[in-house]
């Protein structure tokens, strides 16, 4: 990646931050609003976006599947379901138990999708997406069932499930940011293994990589990062899907630059999406998850079309 392309990415990130700090009815006039409301929210959007972008790049590499991301594989739904159960069980959002449970939900759902897709024989791109859809749909239904049958606190939980950054708890933001940074650093240190995996398990093995071990490791990194993002902002889709495809145009496919760039790109994208959600129909807010779905679903359709065309 040339210097100019790195600058382009950083400029996009800076622009997204400025947009987010300025977005709202009060504009730039009220310093208090900027510092106490918009700044924490911008930081939250940066962390969530980085976590999801990172997870997307890791999944797409380790599964050799350009259609994968934490939303489509069911990772986010697993984390969300675990988070909702924790809220209802009265577990503190900053306690280690909460983060462990959310991680377990994410990892369990991801592995279930992967295992289901493998049952179909050779792991194909399409089978993985289908398995992910089935797992997410089931988990989402479970969450909705729980929310509608319990009368308590369900309004704020509905917003959490929808995916948004209304309320930022500093403690959660801090722990999640640390988890995402650690997962990102661990993944970046193994960029060579991720590149080998993106050629498929057989090629990776013969290049000197243990595919089973790397699959587990990268699932752990991606699930940790996704679950930390979900702990802050609930289910937000398509960041992990879109960002790696976009930044690959700048960095090329090698994980060495792609992984850090996907984290930065994800941070920029979600920050911009959240700010856009606040500016579209003031004074009401469009949740960042809805903004991302509006942009991401057509992108996914385009990707499916491109992918199927490439095979014929």
């Amino acid at each position: 990646m040339g210097k100019n392309k790195a600058l382009l990415l950083l400029a996009a990130l800076a622009a997204a931050c400025l947009f987010s700090l300025a977005a709202g009815p009060a504009g730039w006039s009220n310093t208090d609003v900027i510092l106490n409301l918009r700044l924490p929210r911008t930081l939250a959007a940066l962390a969530v976006g980085a976590g999801l972008g990172l997870a997307g790049a890791l999944f797409q590499g380790v599964l050799k599947n350009p259609l994968s991301d934490p939303y489509i594989l069911g990772t986010s739904s697993g984390a969300t379901a675990a988070a909702v159960f924790c809220f209802l069980a009265g577990i503190e959002r900053t306690s280690p138990v909460f983060f462990l449970a959310v991680f377990a939900g994410a990892f369990g759902a991801t592995f279930l999708s992967y295992w289901l897709a493998r049952l179909a024989g050779r792991l194909s791109d399409g089978a993985l997406v289908l398995a992910g859809v089935a797992v997410s749909a089931f988990l989402s239904a479970l969450v909705m069932l729980t929310l509608t049958s319990s009368r308590e606190r369900s309004f704020s939980l509905f917003y959490f499930v929808m995916g948004g950054l209304y309320t930022v708890e500093p403690g959660v933001l801090m722990v999640s940011s640390l988890i995402i940074a650690a997962a990102g650093a661990a993944a970046m240190a193994r960029w060579r293994a991720l590149d080998a995996m993106s050629l498929g398990a057989e090629n990776a093995y013969h290049l000197g990589i243990s595919p089973e071990r790397e699959r587990i490791l990268f699932f752990v990194f991606a699930c940790a990062s996704t679950s930390a993002a979900v702990a802050i902002g609930g289910t937000i889709g398509f960041v992990g899907l879109m960002v790696p495809h976009l930044v690959r145009r700048l960095t090329g496919p090698s994980a060495r630059l792609l992984v850090p760039a996907a984290a930065l790109g994800g941070a920029a994208m979600l920050t911009a999406a959240d700010a856009a959600g606040r500016s579209l129909f003031p004074p009401s807010e469009v949740p960042a998850g809805v903004v991302m779905a509006l942009a991401g679903a057509p992108f996914f359709m385009w990707l499916l079309w491109k992918n199927s065309r490439g095979k014929n």
């Binding site: 193994r190 060579r192 590149d195 993106s198 498929g200 013969h206 290049l207 243990s210 690959r248 060495r256």
Partner: protein, 247 residues
């Protein structure tokens, strides 16, 4: 010391053994072709030889060590394997692809060294793909892409090179060029084993042959005897005077 020593290797997917009590030895400088009808175990054998698949009984020793107990990282420095087809959705350049052959030698997180670049450059030179070095592998023809993966295997600097149907999608010119390259590598002291689809290709430099004839039956030996027309005809189930068999 032989590069590769297989003894009593047996493997089956179902109740019937696909590979039965197979023994062979490959030494530096040997160029072995593996022939036989479809589904007779040729590709499976190569995967057993690298430990990517595990056999039910028997032993495969690579440089004196049982292959199943060698760590992948060390294995990749001893043996290189080229699959019949490898595809990736991502647009790696040819040079990046060949450099990936250095994975087991380049250490973990830092970039490639000058030594890695030199080994990759040599492999690119050797396979004659220098003009393609900056292209995305997804823009290449099947034949060109096959050469890229052979270059990747060469960059591993392993002493044993295994290839699964390296010629299957290639036209005549590529086929003969590829066989010449493999013969040249064997001449330089590598042990080479290649699964081939057409017996005639074995005439382009193979000195040893392994011929499967289905049901786990096989013969192994010098290419000239093992691939005598009568044996080939019996293995493939075609008449001895078939124009498809080499004269």
């Amino acid at each position: 010391m032989p590069s590769l020593k297989v003894s009593g290797l047996t493997f089956s997917y179902g109740p019937e053994p696909l590979i039965k009590d197979l023994s062979l030895e490959l030494r530096p400088g040997d160029f072995m072709c593996v022939l036989g009808p479809n589904g007779s175990g040729k590709s499976t054998l190569l995967r057993l030889l690298t430990g990517f698949m595990k056999s039910s009984s028997g032993s495969v020793r690579l440089a004196g060590e049982e292959v199943s107990s060698i760590k992948p990282e060390k294995l990749a420095r001893l043996a290189a394997y080229v699959a019949s087809e490898t595809a990736t959705p991502y647009d790696f350049s040819v040079r990046e692809m060949v450099l990936l052959g250095r994975t087991a030698r380049a250490g973990f997180w830092h970039g490639y060294s000058a030594e890695d670049a030199a080994a990759a450059g040599l492999a690119i030179e050797e396979t004659g793909i220098k003009a393609l070095a900056d292209r995305s592998i997804n823009t290449l023809s099947t034949g060109e892409r096959q050469l890229v993966f052979i270059a990747q295997a060469l960059a591993q600097e392993a002493r044993l090179l295994l290839l699964d149907e390296p010629t299957s999608h290639l036209d005549l010119k590529y086929k003969s060029g590829l066989m010449a390259l493999l013969a040249r590598l064997a001449g330089r002291g590598l042990a080479v084993a290649a699964v081939l689809h057409e017996p005639a290709l074995a005439g382009l430099g193979c000195d040893k042959a392994l011929l499967f004839s289905g049901g786990g039956e096989y013969s192994f030996g010098p290419a000239a005897q093992t691939l005598a027309p009568a044996r080939l005809a019996a293995a493939y189930g075609v008449p001895e005077n078939s124009p498809l068999l080499p004269k």
